[in-house]
């Protein structure tokens, strides 16, 4: 009761609390902005008060307004004030406001560092939690750097609540401050086996996210994750782990082999769709990575496809969508397994949901074959007809064209059918893709020689019926096809049935309403047609027909001469004068046809889109050099005669020879290139192109099959593509019969000697020969074109910085002098020790931050190994080993060059292996070469082994300061050559060597190591209790550093020292 009264008074004390604000906004719907501006004024007043409760209330209201889209950045400092309140209530509000409003450029963030640090170390776990949560939203590189240490400490907090938050936020810290990854990683890895499931899953989350970006550095964790995967029952965690494996398998195919079984088990057993979906996806990824080496996984593929079918058949739209999505991934490598579900996919085209239909379309793209293309396209055409909404219809249209034209028209057996489809598509109203259809028409007509007669006939019909297409000229993109039609009719006019009629159609007054670039093509091609007509009529004794044609040209062309479009005007007036001249000659009975058609002689070949780019720069040509003197400063770029190529200034037709700067030149070049690319009349002048064309195998020699004349060529009106489906069936049957005959014949001919090649064309795997041999003229490329060098990597990817080789922690640390930023990792180690100088100790410790905790597991592994070794070792191998070691030591002592030589020899000898280097690989190798499901003990041992690895391996690099690659390579060599059990002995030897190297390094480098410890590190040590590490003996200790040594390897270390002295 009393509390209520007091609370009431507090409410009165505030002008408005959040609820009032929200209510007020809802009540002022009409003048919301005005209301809010008064509220903001109130808030400003409230923020000026000293009472923190009032401030917190104001900040809370601001947070709400921020969400509504109002700028509250002016209150950033007040937010910081509220954050630093000692009361949790206000602190919570402050951090919430900060997490919503702060971003990297907020200046006041600098002021928060100490407050956050204080909160992180608060005895109250919720203070810490709230600080961590807030920090995860607004962490900046500076904050990450300054607080990385504190957060790392929290990763070992006694409360799992804090631990899990600390682990999760480390990911954000890594992204902002990549240098922290290396020192923090060992502890992060520890958290994978945290007793608290929340912490464990947090660690899995973070490592999976890291690994997805840079998988190769995490390959060594595979055994550990494998164990987690087979033991965990938490679906959330499982999904993450499986996703991680999906990222790892492409790097290590053997891992994939190992995964298949547990994954398929999961697929069978799980009831969670999300997990099932993840498993299927990863199995697909695995199978893709194995695609060549593993032929026996058709069962797995079948299983996936089956499961996906169930998903697709599900009534849940979401599952359907994902099923289709995953199916398309299988399609890429195993098209056959997907193709059998064509019925299902086609069904999905009828789905109400557009996104599902689009997915199904994507799938169809990959499912077509020669056999089913016509059928699928027929279905799609039906959908085009009934599709609602232009976007989906346009999508269908592009898909049809994509499907048909994919891989150089690979699946089209009958191009008449395709042309008919294209012509049918022109009847679509309001499509934006006229240019696409047009380019297809052009492409097919140019590249498939056999189809030209048919194409020309169709295009002539199109031109004749142009009015059908161009109902609404301006908005209708479909009139673009007339561009193609006119060009095809002009260029291949010799095939025209009735050129005069087509010419007449091209010169109709209505044409003047077409877009300029189309008119221009009309005019130019009218001229070509004219030339053909003259040629046709030349033989006739009566020249009136020819003269009539000339007269028609002269009558009609002035329409175009008046065109506002410069291009049209220019071409028209040029051609008009030409025709007038021809008419004069005709009247004098001079034979002109030859000369006129010479104007348009020559073949046009398609040019590869990248051809221009591929032309190598000739020697001695400096493209960056000035051609003329650079323009004077005063002459601004804007003043450049830009208008030269534009159409607005027809008067200004002759370019002045002005000095142009390089940009302008480039621009012009670009414009010219563009124009040439768009201009079908542009023939590349290079003599080489012609040569290439002629040399292109099969261009002239490909036997052209006669067009199947069962199709009436003079189709009245527009053609129907459907008839082809039936005709095609018949044709195929006929062909099959013929082929049998021919084959018989062939055999006979062969017997009789060299038989002539048959016109049957190449046999497809489905025994379907195309109706027309596709004279798919390979696109021209310049001579000695450079191979494409596509580098798609995004240099701005924030995850790139996290590409840190974590297996070789020590190696990399030692190779580079420690940066200031890398000081934070120092750990305390305990145990007692052997004599070493403190400075030396400092270096050693610095170089081996994560060794201690691995000790126990390493021991385990060593024991295991000993046993195995004893069992397997043979004398021969010993000898070999010794020999090898000697060899290696020589290398190490020798110069770099020598080593390089040895290296290359070695690498030549061995098969290339995945990029994973280091001794870890041999452990991983061991793990991977095991039976797919290892027995418990074995697994444990291998897991332990892999875990323990980085420590012994890494120092190897330290020896090789100046030649960092060397030890890795020799080791890889070893690991490569070592197969099965031999590996273990070798590894042991390697370890010895590494330790020696490490020792060597310490001596070598101690001078610059010790001094780098910072005071900060000392404080960390004090805060951090670490698990006891029994096998380490303390060597020396001061307030900053504790130095330990590993008693186990001491003997060897000393031995090495001796050796090195010798």
């Amino acid at each position: 009761m009393a509390l209520k009264i007091v609370k009431g008074s507090i409410d009165r004390m505030f002008d408005k609390n959040l609820q009032d604000l929200v209510r007020g906004i809802r009540n002022h719907k009409e003048d919301e902005a005005k209301y809010i501006s008064t509220c903001i004024d109130e808030i400003k007043q409230e923020l000026k008060q000293d009472n923190i409760a009032v401030k917190a209330n104001a900040v809370c209201k601001l947070t709400y307004l921020q969400m509504l889209g109002y700028d509250v950045s002016w209150a950033a400092f007040n937010i910081v004030e509220v954050m630093s309140s000692s009361k949790f209530t206000y602190k919570r509000i402050g951090y919430l406001a900060a997490s919503q409003c702060f971003h990297e450029n907020t200046d006041v963030i600098m002021l928060t560092t100490n407050q956050i640090r204080k909160d992180l170390s608060s005895p109250n776990q919720y203070d810490t939690g709230v600080a961590l949560t807030g920090l995860s939203c607004f962490v900046t590189p500076d904050l990450a750097r300054d607080l990385a240490n504190d957060i790392m400490t929290l990763m070992s907090h006694t409360k799992p609540y804090i631990r899990k938050k600390a682990v999760l936020i480390m990911y954000k810290v890594f992204l902002k401050y990549p240098e922290s990854l290396r020192p923090a990683f060992p502890r992060l890895k520890e958290k994978l086996e945290d007793p608290d499931p929340g912490v464990q899953s947090a660690a899995v989350n973070v490592i999976c996210e890291l690994a997805r970006r840079n998988p190769k550095n995490y390959l060594s964790l595979a055994p550990l994750f494998f164990k987690l995967m087979t033991s965990s029952t938490n679906n959330w965690v499982l999904i993450k782990i499986i996703k991680l494996f999906g990222a790892l398998t492409p790097l290590e195919p053997r891992l994939g082999k190992k995964l298949i079984e547990p994954l398929t088990n999961l697929i069978h057993s799980t009831s969670a769709m999300s997990l099932l979906y993840e498993c299927v996806n990863t199995v697909i990824a695995v199978l893709i990575s194995l695609s060549s080496g593993m032929p026996n996984h058709s069962a797995s593929i079948q299983l996936c496809v089956q499961k996906l079918r169930i998903l697709i058949e599900d009534s849940d739209q979401n599952l359907k969508y994902l099923g289709l999505l995953a199916m398309s991934k299988i399609l890429k490598t195993h098209p056959k397994s997907v193709q059998s579900h064509k019925d299902l996919i086609l069904q999905c085209l009828d789905d109400k949901d557009e996104s599902i239909r689009l997915r199904a379309l994507d799938l169809l793209y990959g499912m077509v074959s020669k056999k089913n293309l016509m059928e699928i396209v027929k279905k799609l055409m039906i959908h085009v007809d009934k599709a609602e909404g232009t976007t989906y219809r346009d999508e269908l249209l592009t898909k049809i064209i994509d499907i048909c034209s994919q891989s150089n028209y690979q699946y089209i057996t009958n191009f008449e059918w395709y042309i008919s489809i294209l012509v049918e598509l022109t009847r679509l109203e309001g499509t934006r893709h006229g240019h696409l259809i047009a380019s297809q028409m052009l492409d097919v007509a140019i590249r498939v020689k056999a189809i030209r007669v048919f194409a020309v006939a169709q295009m002539a019909t199109l031109l004749d019926n142009a009015h059908l297409l161009t109902g609404n000229m301006q908005r209708n993109g479909i009139c673009e096809v007339l561009y193609a039609a006119a060009w095809i009719c002009g260029e291949f006019s010799e095939h025209l049935e009735n050129p005069v009629q087509t010419l007449e159609a091209m010169l109709r007054p209505k044409v003047a309403t077409l877009p300029g670039h189309i008119q221009a093509v009309y005019v130019q091609n009218a001229a070509k047609l004219f030339a053909t007509i003259l040629k046709n009529q030349e033989g006739n004794t009566d020249s009136t027909a020819a003269q009539e044609t000339s007269q028609m040209m002269i009558d009609r062309l002035p329409l175009f001469v008046q065109s506002a479009n410069l291009e049209v005007q220019e071409r028209a007036s040029c051609i008009l004068q030409l025709v007038k001249y021809i008419q004069k000659l005709q009247q004098k009975d001079v034979e002109v046809a030859e000369e006129v058609s010479a104007l348009f002689a020559g073949e046009l070949n398609p040019v590869a889109p990248k051809a221009q780019k591929k032309v190598p720069v000739p020697e001695g040509l400096d493209l960056d050099a000035w051609i003329n003197e650079p323009p004077s400063e005063s002459e601004s770029e804007d003043e450049q005669p830009k208008a030269i190529f534009t159409k607005e200034e027809p008067k200004h037709s002759r370019p002045r020879h002005t000095e142009v700067d390089e940009k302008e030149l480039a621009r012009r070049r670009e414009a010219r290139k563009q124009e040439q690319a768009n201009n079908p009349f542009y023939i590349k002048a290079s003599p080489s192109s012609q040569k290439v064309y002629q040399e292109a195998p099969g261009v002239e020699h490909i036997p052209v099959v006669q067009i199947d004349l069962s199709v009436p060529l003079k189709v009245p009106g527009l053609p129907m593509s459907d008839q082809y489906v039936k005709l095609e069936e018949e044709r195929r049957q006929k062909e099959r019969a013929e082929k049998k005959k021919k084959e018989k014949k062939k055999r006979k001919e062969k017997r009789s000697g060299r038989g002539k090649k048959h016109d049957s064309g190449p046999e497809s795997e489905e025994d379907i020969t195309p109706a027309h041999v596709v004279d798919i003229v390979t696109e021209e490329m310049p001579e000695n074109a450079l191979p494409s060098d596509d580098d798609d990597k995004d240099p701005n990817d924030p995850h790139k910085a996290l590409d840190i080789d974590l297996d070789n922690l020590l190696e990399t640390t030692a190779r580079r002098p420690l940066a200031d930023s890398e000081k934070l990792p120092v750990r305390s180690h305990r145990a007692a020790g052997a004599p070493k100088s403190p400075a030396e100790d400092g270096e050693a410790e610095n170089a081996t931050p994560q060794e201690p905790k691995k000790k126990s597991s390493k021991e385990k592994r060593d024991k295991k190994k000993d046993k195995e070794r004893d069992r397997k070792r043979s004398k021969e191998e010993k000898k070999k080993k010794k020999h090898k070691r000697e060899e290696k030591e020589e290398d190490l002592l020798g110069g770099q060059a020598e080593e390089a030589a040895v290296q290359s020899e070695e690498t030549k000898e061995v098969e290339a292996q995945p990029s994973s280097t280091s001794a870890e690989v041999s452990d991983l190798d061991f793990w991977l070469s095991n039976a797919p499901v290892p027995s418990n003990t074995q697994e444990a041992a291998t897991v332990a082994a892999a875990e323990a690895d980085p420590a012994p391996e890494a120092p190897a690099g330290t020896a090789a300061d100046s030649e960092p690659e060397e030890p890795k390579d020799t080791e890889t060599e070893e690991s490569k050559s070592s197969k099965h059990k031999k590996k273990k002995q070798k590894k042991e030897k390697e370890e010895k060597e590494k330790k020696k190297k490490k020792k060597h390094h310490h001596h070598h480098h101690h001078s610059d190591g010790g001094g780098e410890e910072s005071v900060q590190n000392g404080t960390v040590e004090e805060e951090e209790p670490l698990p006891p590490m029994s096998n380490y003996c303390l060597l020396a200790e001061n307030s900053y550093i504790k130095m330990v040594s590993d008693g186990d390897c001491d003997a060897r270390l000393w031995k090495f020292v001796l050796l090195s002295i010798c």
């Binding site: 009361k87 971003h103 990297e104 949901d353």
Partner: protein, 150 residues
């Protein structure tokens, strides 16, 4: 997860949480664009769509749309489960939650979200422990209230 949005059928933003640093202007643009796309979708359509380089997973609960943006390789179904889990948490906390609860207690909704997700990753897969953390933090809040009043 890149970000999470809650908005009403009327296109009013109710909650937004960004897990990657994004400029205020871009945020607004993205929110507007996404709301338009999602609200235009018919109820029978699936919950996923591809948008820019992200995948959008959304689900409608009563008048509220919950909308998450995830990356290319992320699992859509688990994201749906995340959304559902969040709704369950809200429901447990408010007791059959409705849009008004979230409007008037938007900071509470944020607190719950922050206990459940952090930096775009799931913090705790157990509902119980999330609720417990919230309750205890709330208790702490009450205590500090009380101590201030006395």
């Amino acid at each position: 997860m890149r970000f999470m949005l809650l908005f009403s059928r009327q296109g009013k933003l109710r909650l937004q949480k960004w897990y990657t640093a994004t400029a205020e202007r871009d945020k607004k643009k993205m929110v507007r664009e996404l709301m338009q796309i999602v609200l235009a979708r018919k109820p029978k359509m699936c919950s996923f769509l591809e948008w820019r380089d992200l995948k959008i997973v959304y689900k409608r609960y009563a008048s509220l749309y919950f909308c998450c943006a995830i990356e290319e390789q992320d699992n859509e179904l688990i994201t749906l489960e995340v959304i559902h889990r969040f709704v369950e948490l809200l429901d447990k906390y408010f007791g059959s939650v409705c849009e008004l609860d979230i409007i008037f207690n938007f900071e509470k909704a944020y607190f719950i979200l922050d206990e459940f997700l952090m930096g775009g990753e799931i913090q705790d897969t157990s509902k119980k422990s999330v609720l417990k953390a919230i309750e205890q933090a709330d208790l702490l809040q009450e205590v500090s209230w009380a101590s201030e009043l006395t």
